[in-house]
């Protein structure tokens, strides 16, 4: 049986991709951002997912204003890198997992989530920047990736609740897939930022920290947040954080926060990143001594890979 072992969220700021492509990651400004992902790279290298599902949004690359699908699942075998106006980013093409993607499509559509399916689609920085942050710059990405593009460009995006419930349906779909696959799901975008209008440059760290706290412990509260609140408090473009709730909905109710990182700014945006792990029966080690004391033994175990990473705040 396939299973989701963990969820990762990460900003997907295009300037992060440009810093990688132009070899500027060593500059103090960018070092501050990339250092925050060093432990995450170690973590995912140990988890070794068989497949990643990456929830992201397209930025006028694959989709223009001609067609605006709310949820578009990539069912292709390969996703070329989009030319966003400066030539395609020099990163490997993304290999899909058509078999699992088709299974997910069939399962969630019958669960009443009416997806658009994309058998041909290019992917932009929204998807490739988080892959770089987690996997570095390999010649080939280490595992197949299933893109799930969400409309957050045209208002209204899907509600946080709808996103969370889609995550639930994806979890069900994966758990009904007969092959033994380890899946990690990414929610990308955010955190607070506004890049349009006279209010551009807005950052709300207080909102962001509360969002991260609730994402781990009280995601249901986030599912009730109206779009107006996202836009007013976290910036017009900050509303894309609803995508993180798809990731959260695909995890168990109770998760272990493996790692967290937050820094301001990367270009115009607050960078937020969190790793949440399902508590699996397969792992051998307890999450922490504190957890051992208050939880039954079967509840506190998690992926051994997560053990060396301490929860940190910055």
């Amino acid at each position: 049986m396939a299973r989701i072992v963990a969820g990762v969220t990460s900003s997907h700021v295009p300037a992060i991709g440009a810093a990688i492509d132009n070899h500027r990651t060593g500059e103090p400004y960018w070092q501050r951002v990339f250092e925050g992902f060093e432990r995450s790279k170690e973590w995912i290298a140990k988890v070794k997912p068989d497949v990643c599902i990456v929830v992201y949004n397209d930025h006028a690359s694959a989709f223009s204003v001609e067609m605006i699908p709310t949820f578009a699942l990539g069912t292709a075998a390969e996703f070329p890198i989009a030319d966003e106006g400066w030539g395609p980013r020099p990163v490997p093409a993304v290999q899909g997992h058509p078999e699992l993607a088709a299974h997910i499509a069939q399962s969630v559509i019958l669960d009443e989530f009416d997806l658009t399916l994309c058998n041909k689609m290019e992917v932009d920085h929204g998807l490739t920047v988080p892959l770089n942050l987690m996997f570095g710059t390999p010649k080939q990405w280490p595992c197949p990736v299933i893109p799930l593009a969400v409309n957050v460009v045209m208002y209204p995006p899907p509600t946080g609740h709808r996103c969370f419930m889609l995550g639930r349906a994806i979890k069900k779909a994966i758990e009904s897939y007969p092959k033994d696959l380890k899946v990690v799901i990414f929610g990308t975008g955010g955190m607070s930022h506004q890049i349009s209008g006279q209010r551009a440059g807005l950052i709300n760290s207080k909102f962001d920290h509360a969002f991260l706290d609730n994402l781990t412990k009280n995601p249901k509260k986030l599912t009730r947040m109206p779009h107006l609140e996202y836009m007013r408090e976290a910036g017009a473009e900050g509303v894309e954080m609803v995508m993180w709730l798809i990731m959260r909905g695909a995890l168990d109710d109770n998760v272990d926060e493996v790692y967290r990182f937050y820094t301001v700014p990367a270009s115009n945006t607050a960078v937020g990143h969190i790793i949440l792990a399902n508590r699996t029966k397969a792992s051998k080690k307890p999450a922490s001594k504190k957890a051992v004391a208050r939880k039954p033994a079967t509840k506190i175990k998690r992926a051994a890979a997560g053990q060396k990473i301490q929860r940190i705040r910055s």
């Binding site: 006028a60 204003v65 106006g85 349009s196 006279q198 551009a200 440059g201 807005l202 950052i203 709300n204």
Partner: protein, 154 residues
């Protein structure tokens, strides 16, 4: 009472913000498709060679206001007329500008001042929640009380 032709939108109370909704998407279709055309190098060249000709020949359905906003690089006006920032940013890129140049134009700042603002932690949300001030008052009322001595002065 006469029915309003356009419904009031709660997000219109957010200052300095043009929410790209289905109405703007409809009105800005040709403006955004023009921006989208700039993804191709040959189109960027053709546009730069003769901007007015490029717009008149290929995007004749632009409104005069949209056409003027494009030619004059009025980025807020483009948003007001249905442009979306992810699309209009392609025009900025065609001009060879980094994104923070556009942000500076939209916020009436210089690129350096805008970059410094971001390094200081960005534009604060306090005082920037609503045009009417309602949202700020509401937020203050629901937040923990702050003693008068610690109150920051704007």
């Amino acid at each position: 009472m006469a029915a309003k032709t356009i419904a009031e939108k709660d997000y219109d109370d957010i200052p300095g913000t043009y929410v790209f909704d289905a109405d703007r998407s409809r009105r800005g279709f040709h403006l955004n498709m023009f921006c989208m055309s700039l993804l191709k190098a040959e189109n960027r060249k053709a546009f730069k060679d003769n901007e007015a000709k490029y717009l008149d020949e290929r995007f004749s359905l632009l409104t005069p206001e949209q056409r003027e906003a494009i030619l004059k690089r009025q980025y807020n006006r483009m948003l007001e007329l249905g442009g979306n920032i992810y699309f209009t940013a392609k025009l900025g890129a065609t001009d060879g500008h980094p994104f923070q140049h556009l942000a500076a134009l939209m916020t009436g700042s210089t690129q350096q001042d805008y970059a410094d603002l971001m390094l200081r932690g960005g534009r604060p949300v306090e005082g920037n929640r609503s045009k009417s001030g309602k949202a700020d008052k509401l937020k203050a009322a629901t937040s923990k009380p702050v003693s008068k001595g610690n109150k920051r002065r704007g």
